[in-house]
Symmetry: C2
Subunit: 355 residues, 2 copies
């Protein structure tokens, strides 16, 4: 039976469907499979804004030439431990999967490895990326900025300079990895757009208008002239902390890759700094696990403020979502399903069978 927005699909079915869409749009098969696998994993982990909901946007980018679908990244520099790649706006998830593979192999040989990438296309959900390495016993860190975007102002300023600048660290845990995936601003571009599209206001004043006055109105980000900005972590009280995080991400992802705001790119893309660290080159994987699992226990057993909300570790919800998706399949929300079905029709791709 052909699926609908009511259907549950197996992970494998959705991966094959997503890959078929990208292949039909001209993407190399290995890239299509990599991108589809990571988008579906992201859905299964519960990060729906960065799952298959991105596929229609990627397909639109491919159609207008924004995302390249064939070819290889250019190696700008490679010293064996450190590298700079020019991603040439190839699919970011595929580039990151390849970068993770290279960095894991190097970290396993030397303890540390880092790759700075300029001009990737969108790299999706950072938690899903660092999970690839944390599942294999490594500590992985990803820092990401888009020098074509300006949506966050420096602390005390009114003019947007930064993107939200997400960064993530993943590390092994007893049952599943701990996946920290945060950013330098209070909320994100996609949450702001989603809130605006729903005609809603944020619960708290998480943006600044063009005069620097805190506001709950998501319209100030992209629908007023002059534009406002998203507040830094810490807001008016201690936004120097978010400012520091924003600078950290820019230095690692743009400074080290040697490409950034100075080049004034206008194309949707991004810069990345990836580092993989092997605990076996420090005190060892067992010692790492002993310390961190003890810490996780101290957190999970912590007396909660609200009895109905036990303390979790970042990564717990993703692991539960993934287990459920593996057992019961995944449902897509109606809007995503309609958009994917329209893409499938346009590209001549069959809709997937419900599981």
């Amino acid at each position: 039976m052909r699926g609908s927005s009511e259907s549950a699909f197996s992970i494998a079915t959705l991966e094959a469907f997503g890959a078929a869409l990208f292949v039909a749009a001209g993407m190399d098969g290995d890239k299509a499979r990599s991108v589809a696998r990571l988008l579906v994993l992201t859905d299964a982990m519960g990060r729906r804004t960065h799952g298959l909901a991105m596929a229609p946007l990627y397909l639109a980018e491919i159609a207008k030439g924004g995302m390249r679908v064939q070819g290889e990244p250019e190696t700008v520099r490679d010293t064996g431990l450190t590298a700079v790649w020019d991603g040439g706006y190839l699919p970011g998830l595929w580039l990151m999967e390849r970068a993770l593979d290279v960095a894991m192999a190097r970290a396993a040989a030397h303890g540390l490895a880092a790759i700075a990438i300029r001009r990737t296309h969108h790299i999706g959900c950072l938690a899903a990326l660092v999970k690839q390495a944390a599942d294999r016993g490594f500590v992985a860190q990803v820092y990401n900025s888009d020098p074509a975007g300006r949506r966050v102002a420096p602390y005390g300023g009114t003019e947007a300079v930064f993107t939200p600048n997400p960064f993530a660290i993943g590390y092994p845990g007893a049952e599943h990895p701990v996946l920290v995936d945060i950013c330098a601003s209070i909320t994100t571009t996609s949450m702001t757009r989603q809130t605006y599209a729903a005609g809603e206001q944020f619960a708290h004043p998480w943006l600044l208008d063009a005069q620097g006055v805190p506001t709950r109105d998501p319209a100030v980000l992209e629908h007023t002239e002059p534009r406002g900005s998203i507040q830094l972590v810490g807001g008016q009280e201690y936004g120097h902390k978010g400012y520091g995080l924003a600078l950290m991400v820019e230095a690692l992802s743009q400074g080290l890759s040697g490409h950034g705001r100075l080049d004034a790119p206008t194309r949707w893309g991004g810069n990345v700094f990836l580092q993989v660290t092997d605990p076996d080159f420090f005190a060892g994987r067992d010692a790492f696990a002993a310390q961190m699992d003890h810490l996780s226990d101290r957190c999970r057993s912590n007396r909660p403020i609200r009895a109905d909300r036990p303390v979790r570790l970042p990564g717990d919800q993703a692991a539960a979502g993934l287990a459920q998706a593996e057992a019961d399949g995944l449902r897509l929300d109606d809007a995503t399903w309609q958009q994917l079905a329209a893409c499938a029709e346009r590209l001549g791709v069959a809709l997937p069978e419900a599981s």
Copy 2:
């Protein structure tokens, strides 16, 4: 003329005075000079809570055997690029200066180098540490936690598990380095103690009482039973971000060093993860400088929210303070002066000459 709390002292005079105090307390001369130099630098950078005001606390630790004053750190592991040291509660500032020297030499040879240190004594102001490497063209990152301290609860919890977990990144800038020095909690232990000692309340509810209710009262941290905690960055609204930062710092500083809360240390000290990165092994120092100086310009020229408060970069204030101290000398606040004078009398060290 012997100085007083009214006097300005040259940096060299204060360094010699500080070193003389530590030597009189039994510390090796090289360690004493290193610790004194970095404390005075910290004062000059304007971080007074972590400058010579720490010396009486360090001397008290020495007197009771908490800080070791002679000997070398133990090398637990060394692979050439990665290392684990056991600091054996030797002076943290001296250990960090040595670790920075080793890591800079290795980074200059390989591009990256990292050292995880267990059981340092207090390492002082992280901005002053990363400055040592950023002044020489490197990117330096320091992550620091104290597994003997519990003052910050996990997000949604009521029982303190973490320390504020400071971390810093320093990188070269056109006139002086950019020095980001922040932490996972809204405020710090020393600010909370200082506010309590002054009989004041915080301007905002930056702590939680033992039931997890936000409060401005610094007493809940160490003067109520049961104790409260310092709120994570993001507080009740988005404290999952601060929680992620706290876990990141614990994983790097305790997980990789293989020593931490599982060992339940009770002695004042800390764990460190230090990484030094050489931009010349990525896109190069010139490319790094071009990108980051452009970004700094975009920040400093940003139209400020308040016309009388121009946007600064972290590190600007420290550079201005240092230049002024080099020109005019440094004054110490009255309380610090009185404590230092009492230590000097007890140890038979002459008070410094005013400049």
